[in-house]
Symmetry: D2
Amino acid sequence: MVVEKACILRRLLKSCLVQRPACLSTSATMAKSKFEYVRNFETDDSCLRNCYIVVRLDGRNFHKFAEHHTFLKPNDGRALGLMTHSARCVMAELEDVVIAYGQSDEFSFVFKKTSTLFKRRASKLMTHVVSQFSSSYVFYWREFFGDQPLLYPPGFDGRVVLYPSNRNLRDYLSWRQADCIFTNLYNTVFWALVQKGGLTSAVSVVLLKGTLAADKNEILFSEFNVNYNNESAVHRKGTILIWERQEETVKKRTKSPREEKETDATVTRSRRRVQEHHCDIIGEQFWQEHPDILEQDGP
Amino acid sequence: MVVEKACILRRLLKSCLVQRPACLSTSATMAKSKFEYVRNFETDDSCLRNCYIVVRLDGRNFHKFAEHHTFLKPNDGRALGLMTHSARCVMAELEDVVIAYGQSDEFSFVFKKTSTLFKRRASKLMTHVVSQFSSSYVFYWREFFGDQPLLYPPGFDGRVVLYPSNRNLRDYLSWRQADCIFTNLYNTVFWALVQKGGLTSAVSVVLLKGTLAADKNEILFSEFNVNYNNESAVHRKGTILIWERQEETVKKRTKSPREEKETDATVTRSRRRVQEHHCDIIGEQFWQEHPDILEQDGP
Amino acid sequence: MVVEKACILRRLLKSCLVQRPACLSTSATMAKSKFEYVRNFETDDSCLRNCYIVVRLDGRNFHKFAEHHTFLKPNDGRALGLMTHSARCVMAELEDVVIAYGQSDEFSFVFKKTSTLFKRRASKLMTHVVSQFSSSYVFYWREFFGDQPLLYPPGFDGRVVLYPSNRNLRDYLSWRQADCIFTNLYNTVFWALVQKGGLTSAVSVVLLKGTLAADKNEILFSEFNVNYNNESAVHRKGTILIWERQEETVKKRTKSPREEKETDATVTRSRRRVQEHHCDIIGEQFWQEHPDILEQDGP
Amino acid sequence: MVVEKACILRRLLKSCLVQRPACLSTSATMAKSKFEYVRNFETDDSCLRNCYIVVRLDGRNFHKFAEHHTFLKPNDGRALGLMTHSARCVMAELEDVVIAYGQSDEFSFVFKKTSTLFKRRASKLMTHVVSQFSSSYVFYWREFFGDQPLLYPPGFDGRVVLYPSNRNLRDYLSWRQADCIFTNLYNTVFWALVQKGGLTSAVSVVLLKGTLAADKNEILFSEFNVNYNNESAVHRKGTILIWERQEETVKKRTKSPREEKETDATVTRSRRRVQEHHCDIIGEQFWQEHPDILEQDGP
């Protein structure tokens, strides 16, 4: 074997000296460099510095997707669980995401103001988020839907929005949670009327037109004996994901310098983990309890 | 049941007349509209008209991904097949893609100049392509890798580039194919030296440094008795996907107006399908044979 | 003097060796570099390659400006002359402008597709055009308005638009000329009704509402004995500026190698100059007569 | 005259009913609408909300311009005065500018965060600033240079930069003032060496290479008996323009309701005016004294 290798080496080195027509041998390299000018058509889309970068993704045609996969109405716990799990996968890959908020078939990821991930290039940030989310959604389907098969690969689209101040960012998140609150109450009443009240969709739509939150709460309570405030927080408030430090107790085998025999010590270690919340993020309390999520606006 | 429904309706209509403090009932709607200003922070990123829109995606950390999944070197037929199948899924969803070109862990999708899909918004176009590709890659893994499990969801990133003229677009595609030609020849020799020649990676790199295409062909031929031109076209040239009309023969049961009995007629029907090619796209021949891919640049 | 200089030099070189607290001496430099990060907030706005870059400028509040400076209605020859002269100044500064078109208080400048001026940065291109135009307008005012004073410095705003193909660019120029044709005919009739017909502005507006080009021509002819086609082309068609080669006859004093005495020879020399046209640019003729303005779109 | 007008009206109304071939009469309108699609090639370049918008302009080839117009070295009071006066014209036109800072041949204009001027379109903002500045520079030349003629119209270019926070904006302004401090000290020493010391430019450059601020101060003091700190603040610190409220005493003729005769009263009125400063803006003092320039970043 050693002999053989030596032969190869010797012959190869010799072949390097062989005279050959340059025109032929360099064609591929030449061709490539001739076309390389097309790279200059790429444009720089890096995000303005010192702004929060929000990537929001939405399920594409998820109304149909939900029907095809017989999602429960108004909320399907399995579907929401899979959305959240996929969002966790995104956060695990991209540590600069300081908070994510999801509801229904959408999820928003907030990158910290000072992030320099992918040189802040908008296209890289949004495609990476959407790609990781999409592949995770399919990959973990079975964990949430068991034997019910995924019929076709789903699609999500994404966008990037910048928010310069803490106020703007909080208002963005409040907007999405207000949308969740609003939509979920509507859907809860609507499906109660249809599923329990036996009304048609069309009639239910007409009935609900123009009703206010108080009306809907009243309908749920008086007609269906449902106290909306007792409904699950994940449905009413959506899902918040943030990084939190947690104390972990780990057993560690140590050997003291003086003694000769090993002992098992219990060590406490702090580790950052993604934690899930389903609370209000419109008011002050959440932000006071987690002061590290937002950066200070400055002087 | 009819009675019950009527009761619900009656009570609901009555409840609509109930007096209630406006301050409470409108809070959710008010809150939402108060935050809605944040939508104005979104920017318009629609692509310049009358240009080809190219979305290129690349596997993220696919060097590692290939190792973890023991892809064959230098080319893994299953992996390339899965890439191509995922690209087909993208084309099936987005009919404005006129040609796609893939090699290694990348794929480029070309939208026609006149496309108005997603109002030509760059973010929508690239995220949709990348999302559909990613979820398809996981969804169809089993079809290509059988029982070998996918260990974790892969990531792809994407970008958008505009090309104003046919010449620019063809040069872009030529650039990618020249890259394929160049890289694949290198990899073929490299892995021959390592796998068949028993050389280490480091030695092989040194040996190949500065060698030209002709050198590499010579090494393959004289050392390993391999005629590179007989290698598979899919590896040497990459994969081209285009829409082509095909005649289909369909049996159709018809009933002539005069006669009373039905007869089986054979009908020829033309249908657009995505076809796969592995030929040269740098020269003129391919474009002459498929004159419909590119639009005329005009007078 | 020489002695004095030597002294300065000697002392200066000595002073460079003086020990001083570094903290004090470097403060200015340090301060500057501490703030320099703000440069990274600038974004790259370079224009897509291989597209025509059009910079169009418009007079700001020129309706009022025209009133304040008693411009003649419907067209003021002096004002149009000054516009054109200012546009020539822009072209003299920026040779990559291949054609300019002006009418009323607007002017469009077309940069060639391959221009790399200011690295194709949109902000540089448009501000330079607008700045040169504005300062020229004030600078040359007296040449066109004589002793009538300029009452205040006028303002112009600008924008950049990209056109990928010759067809698009020609359609852009046709759009501006069609606007000129349309507007000028309207204004000619309107001011005839007011100035010669003695109608009020309000009545004239009502009368002209909904009239077609033929109606307006007819009114001019039958009421005011004006054949619109005999009106000045500069008003009806606007102003086109292009670079043209011209033969110049120059006297040159030469000395033939054989003879000893100098002689005056007449030499013909070709030179690029900006030429003014007032013809149709919507049809083919102009472009056939000046085939060098537009670049070929390529294969 | 009345009869004549009536005739015109009658005939015009009749002419509107005349039958004419539609193909001819509508051609101009049709042509225009046929081309109007080119408007869709314009892109939206509106600036991100809630950020300071800075437009900075720089003299183009001002090194040469200064030579041609024999500007005094190192600072020409007339030239700086004209720059500042032109900047005042810009501020008078654009009230959303909250502060402007100028030095040498550059000026920066800061639009307030909440400005909606020109819908925050970057191209409109920068071209308007640059245009107004350029035309004012020529218009007011005589007020500063008297009979010394302006030889040709000068050019300025501009750019737009966004700053999300007060800290960023203040650092931007500090950067420009630090540049002024740095450059002016250098120029003062350089021209002292050349003009008073009789050294050549080349020798002076070599001497100053690598010197620190303290060195330059020392050279000025020991060689030329100049205490740099006594030099004019406008040269050392540049020019700051801000809006300030001022009390004005105005005589007003009033007539009390009870009495019959008019009396002259002295009324105090507050008015916003652009005020000029030449102080430090890097430290805190200026900002504490003018707390209204910057908006609060918010909670």
